[in-house]
């Protein structure tokens, strides 16, 4: 059995430093309990008798341990309204900021990548309809992209089980879904037709550039799985996919600062996000 006070201060610092350098995930002291529990789970799973022996295993990435710890430290299961504080930031701050900078009448473009089976882009659509007073005054395009074409088919079908809907109120479920068999619901057609799904590998510039420029990109819990080079390439592709002054939202534990200096950090009441400089320097 693993001791409940798992890591001393120095060990915790070293672990966080390692995860930051290798994944871009940034954990503060406030997240210590969460991190320790994940490490404890992985120590038990790998039969590691001490943190030192577990850390040696992690460092050598024995049997993919780094990915296992990442998986344990992130919620792989996707569902509606996941990390909705970023959606709150979207409607409270980001869209207003973008409107201030965009030519009048230009479409507001939002990209969800990776979109998996569609929960995130549909969540954005529902959130906007429910929470943005100006939603009727602007054209909004939502694009969901994923490298996995099989999940895109499921996304287009828009049929979800109870777990995916667990954070939606009954009222929202009734408003935006129709029953689709036992314990399953389908997004209403009108909403389903309002999200465009495309295949895209964000490490491949040739696949990201045709998507054009977005005002806001949601790219959550993806970059942490890449190696350093792929992460840098992906960050540059995302930069190119943002309109000047556009925003990118990463997962709650992710930090772009470790990956790239291309973006500036923006701290809002509901979330920390990253921004492409409004005016790209010209040389």
């Amino acid at each position: 059995m693993v001791d409940s006070s798992l890591l001393d201060a120095e060990e915790y610092r070293r672990l966080c430093d390692y995860l930051y350098r290798h994944t871009g995930m940034a954990f503060t002291e406030a997240r210590r309990y969460f991190v320790e529990r994940r490490v404890e789970d992985r120590m038990i799973a790998t039969g590691s008798s001490s943190f030192a022996s577990y850390f040696a295993r992690l460092r050598t990435n024995l049997q993919g341990e780094l990915e296992s710890l990442i998986n344990a430290s992130t919620v792989n299961e996707t569902y509606f309204y996941r990390e909705d504080h970023q959606f709150a930031c979207l409607t409270s701050n980001l869209l207003q900021e973008r409107l201030r900078m965009k030519p009048r009448g230009e479409t507001m473009r939002i990209w969800s990548v990776p979109c998996s089976t569609g929960e995130e882009p549909y969540s954005i659509a529902i959130w906007l309809l429910e929470n943005w007073a100006e939603v009727d005054a602007h054209d909004i395009e939502i694009v969901g992209s994923d490298i996995d074409t099989s999940v895109l088919e499921a996304a287009r079908a828009g049929v979800f089980g109870r777990r995916a809907l667990m954070r939606l109120s009954r009222a929202l479920t009734d408003k935006y879904f129709t029953p689709a068999g036992p314990e399953h619901w389908q997004i209403i057609d009108e909403l389903r037709q309002s999200v465009r799904f495309t295949a895209a590998n964000i490490v491949e510039r040739a696949e990201t550039r045709p998507h054009g420029l977005f005002d806001v990109i949601f790219c959550r819990n993806l970059l942490i799985y890449f190696d350093d080079t792929s992460r840098r390439v992906a960050a540059e592709n995302l930069y190119e996919s943002l309109a000047p002054g556009g925003y990118i939202c990463l997962g709650h534990a992710e930090s772009m600062s470790r990956i790239s200096s291309l973006f500036e950090v923006c701290r809002f009441a509901d979330a920390i996000v990253y921004r492409r400089q409004p005016e790209a320097p010209h040389g």
Binding site: A56, E141, D227, E236, S260, A280
Partner: protein
């Protein structure tokens, strides 16, 4: 409903297709040219551009291109930038080298023996990510003779992450060489305590 439907004529603004070069007067074009480089034959052009490039964004794209190509020559191009006084470029060079550990690996012994102690210090950090199985041995050898305490401290820090109990004797000897440096002594004690729980890695 205001959300745009699939197949709408309101499509994405397609980026202008240009034929950019690394020598263009436009930073955007130099950025695009750097981003398009992905072949070892591009390394000389990237190296030349890096010498003159003053735009941080373009410089980062050049570093990324070199890392993506990942050839030994890529690392060779980046190494001189570890010596710059400009911290941003130096950090960019370090990040690029970390991103191509295999290409960086052959140069590490040379960097660890560099006359410039700042370069040796940075090399200790690189060994952590790019040293592979030889990393602990290289760092142990360094702390046996390294005259600068801060370089030893960087090596000790890295050893704490990558070494096992076999590093303990040279760590102890390093502490003995700097008896009046309380920070280094403390750092070595912490690492030795930690390594006590790490079994030697299988050899061969």
């Amino acid at each position: 409903m205001p959300l745009i439907r699939n197949g709408s004529e309101k499509t994405a603004r397609v980026l202008r297709q240009a034929l950019p070069t690394l020598a263009s007067a436009s930073a955007d074009e130099r950025w695009s040219a750097a981003r398009a480089a992905r072949d070892p034959s591009d390394i000389p052009s990237l190296a030349e551009a890096l010498v003159h490039e003053r735009d941080a964004r373009v410089r980062e794209a050049i570093f990324t291109a070199l890392a993506r190509i990942g050839a030994s020559e890529s690392a060779k191009v980046v190494l001189p930038y570890l010596r710059l006084n400009d911290a941003n470029t130096r950090t960019g060079a370090m990040d690029a080298l970390r991103a191509m550990p295999d290409a960086c690996h052959p140069y590490l012994p040379e960097l660890l023996a560099d006359p410039d102690s700042d370069v040796r210090l940075l090399a200790c950090d690189l060994v952590r990510d790019a040293g592979g199985a030889e990393g602990p041995r290289w760092l142990c050898a360094l702390i046996e003779t390294e005259p600068q305490a801060n370089v030893c401290a960087a090596a000790v820090e890295a050893l704490g992450e990558i070494a096992d109990t076999t590093a303990t004797p040279c760590l102890s000897r390093c502490a003995e060489r700097f008896p009046v440096d309380p920070f280094l002594g403390f750092a070595i004690k912490v690492v030795i305590d930690r390594l006590r729980h790490v079994s030697p890695a299988p050899r061969g």
